[in-house]
Amino acid sequence: MIEVKNLSKAFGVQKVLDKISFSVNRGEIFVILGESGVGKSVLLKQLNGLIDPDEGSISIDGVEITSLSEPELLGLRKKIGYLFQEGALYDFMNVYENLSFPLREHTPLKRKEIVDKVKKVLSLVGLEGVESKFPSELSGGMKKRVGLARAIILDSQILFCDEPTSGLDPIRSRDISNLIQNASRKLSCTTVITSHDITNALRIADRIMIIKEGKIAGLGKPSEIKSSPNAFIREFIS
């Protein structure tokens, strides 16, 4: 479903990604692990066409996205939900307006249907009754939940989550990981998560990819990663 070949990206002299290749199967939860600053978020943004790669190819459902223009990418992104690290909710909109925004933009739903849909996704992320609150009135964890609700509100077939548990305590991290897992299974969507939260990654992922110095250090099922003989991986997950 998502096919990445020889992808490279550098910022100035700093090479962030160096000819990496991998694929993500339809319906699986694929977690990209790595130390902070290793280029996980950059990789995720490239998968969505938000950053152009220096070289290499990325295809989603057989469509080569590196050759698409911005208007074509805008069309493609309607099918992809994206949860940003800090939620990236609009400050000037309340929760209801934030969540209804993609529906108003991309669906012909009537007001009543939009209200129902917003309530439904909010209940899915365990946040009923916060529709009138503004992002500044929400905690970090709540912002991420609202961000997740916005990412799944269009019933997208692909979900990208950028560091969904960063800055959260272990209990909230587990909760938000469970929510992503539930939403992903319920919507049968392909989910790519970047994280450095090893515990939750090993718990919810179908496959894990570990990046080190721009290259893939390990790729496999959680059980394979746990039993990897690679010294870096053993140290990373310990």
């Binding site: 943004k45 969505n48 938000l50 911005e70 208007p71 990418l73 805008l74 069309g75 493609l76 992104r77 309607k78 992809i80 994206y82 940003f84 690290q85 800090e86 990236a88 909710l89 609009y90 400050d91 000037f92 925004f101 993609p102 933009e105 991309h106 916005r150």
Partner: protein
């Protein structure tokens, strides 16, 4: 030394090019009819409401000061009857368009940059693109169109307020009859006088909208960056409004006199 100069010039050219591309993108969105009327109306309301009070106060005071100075100077020549004409023509031809543009830039322009800058550092533009929506169309075009439509309205309000300020001084301080003052005001302003000032406002509104939206859209560096880019936006728009005012005044005077 040479290399440094070259790199500075290169950077300047790149920035100018980026500015032009940004404006081009906004312009093409408008040409293609990608204008969200409700968002534009919201901007007109917010930008207008934010600036109208201060525009009225400053214009009233400016009109009053013009009349006070006019009273002193013109009385020396026994020509205090011309206070009304002097106040009206100064305001309509020059002061109201420039004062309003500067006030608008400091209030609404700064707000646009700060608002967009905060969105930029919090990934909200990226989020907009990630949701399949063009941030230029949704967030920039309405703000720039808002500027273009609000500034002319504020200028007319400023002219009326300034004339009112002059009227109070003319009537109560210089003891000119109310009817005479109003008659003189209406008689002295020709359509050419009004247009020579008013036409500049459209250029100012484009300058302010362009600079403030561009600076906000390209803000980097967290909350410190928001402060830095907002200050830059106001400083650049002040500078360019004053410079373009000089250029436009020369052109307009050559055409209309």
């Amino acid at each position: 030394m040479k290399k440094e100069n070259l790199s500075y010039i290169q950077n300047l050219i790149i920035k100018l090019g980026d500015n032009v591309c940004f404006f081009g993108e906004v312009f093409f969105n408008i040409l293609r009819g990608r204008v969200r009327v409700i968002e534009v109306l919201k901007q007109i309301y917010e930008q207008g409401l934010q600036s109208v009070g201060i525009v009225i106060m400053v214009s009233l005071a400016s009109g009053a000061v013009l009349a006070l100075q006019g009273h002193v100077v013109l009385s020396r020549f026994g020509a205090k009857e011309y206070i009304a004409s002097m106040v009206a023509l100064s305001l309509v031809r020059e002061l109201s368009p420039v004062f309003t543009a500067l006030i608008f830039s400091g209030k609404a322009g700064a707000r646009i940059t700060a608002e967009l800058g905060s969105m930029s550092v919090n990934d909200q533009f990226l989020a907009t693109r990630a949701m399949g929506v063009d941030p230029i169309e949704y967030l920039i075009v309405p703000r720039m169109l808002g500027c273009f439509l609000v500034l002319p309205i504020l200028t007319v309000i400023s002219e009326v307020a300034g004339i009112a300020g002059g009227y109070f001084i003319g009537v109560y301080e210089a003891k000119i009859s109310s009817v005479f003052y109003l008659n003189q005001t209406l008689k002295s302003i020709r359509i050419v006088d009004f247009l020579s000032g008013f036409s500049k406002v459209f250029f100012f509104s484009v300058i302010i909208g362009w600079i403030c939206a561009y600076q906000g859209y390209n803000t980097k560096g967290g909350s410190l960056g928001v402060g830095k880019y907002t200050t830059q936006a106001v400083a650049y728009s002040y500078m360019l409004v004053i410079i373009f005012n000089a250029i436009l005044t020369k052109i307009i005077l050559s055409i209309w006199g």
